[in-house]
Homo-oligomer: 204 residues x 2
Amino acid sequence: MNRNFDFVSDKRLEGQLDFIIEIDKLKNIARKSMVFDGSHFENDAEHSWTISVLAILLREYANFNVNIEKVIIMLLIHDIVEVYAGDTFLYSAKRSAAHIEEEKSAEKIFGFLEEDQKEYFLSLWKEFEERKTNEAKFATVFDRLEPLVQNYMTQGGTWKKYNVTYQMVIDKTSHIQEGSKEIWDFVKKLLQVCVERGYLAKEE
Amino acid sequence: MNRNFDFVSDKRLEGQLDFIIEIDKLKNIARKSMVFDGSHFENDAEHSWTISVLAILLREYANFNVNIEKVIIMLLIHDIVEVYAGDTFLYSAKRSAAHIEEEKSAEKIFGFLEEDQKEYFLSLWKEFEERKTNEAKFATVFDRLEPLVQNYMTQGGTWKKYNVTYQMVIDKTSHIQEGSKEIWDFVKKLLQVCVERGYLAKEE
Ligand SMILES: [Ca+2]
């Protein structure tokens, strides 16, 4: 392992610093969708920032009380595993195989930290992935919502490029309603408008 | 004002959505320093993500108990005013004049939201800027820390480019100690190493 901070004698702090250097690679991991103005493909760090702000902004629409601190921390770190595993498109056939890679990646990246912090972040990441707690259900809303709005803003974006249909989108995103009925109502309306405007193909 | 979501009948929600589209412009606002691997100039969204993660990661070094939720939210939104005001270099002579522009910008950008949310974000932004509360003091640590580490990782980066000296850096960053004595100890060591390695010029 590269020692970026060889002058630091405290091993705990050195690990924390090396961790922040390592996760910076997310800034070079491009996602499939473009930022709202279509100027560039979004990277994982930009994505994590937007969905964290979204959760703060739209917290009033949660179906239940949530610990918003936990929601935000989950969203800020949920993509860190992609430092080694890369981004896998939601509609890709490889999406379920990707999970094994991500588990390995999580062990490696959070392994930069001492046991207590490693366990803390690993458990938050797993909680997010399992989508069983209220916080995980609410956090997932924003991870799904952002690309939908990006595709709307860019007149179809990845949907057109990869032949994604209305029913495929519904299948992959309908669990938004488990976190927020109000946001799911908005999404249904958004998708309808996308079909009407020709951004998204709907099966007969 | 552009109505991006003309099909949404709820004015509150429509304002929230327009707000998230507007602040996305931060992804096109380049800062002066490069990301840790030197691959590109960092943008404001990437910066906000990194310093939020840093605050979570290094919270144990705060000089006092902090409400970490508040710290993170401050860090996630602290640069939103730059959507209209742009980024001003910490060592620029224009730095104090920039504040008036930022006040106007804050009114405008948070004005997308209804009064309660506008006030909530405005007051958090002002609290951060004034650096009087424990949360603001601790949050500021990371806004200052990140570019120092970026310049270390890129062998001098903006310090060399803009002839910034050791004493100028100390003057602009010594308030880090108000938020965290341990992180300030690290910074002093880091700067010393930067001088020894020729990344940062020190006056005789
Ligand atoms: Ca700034």
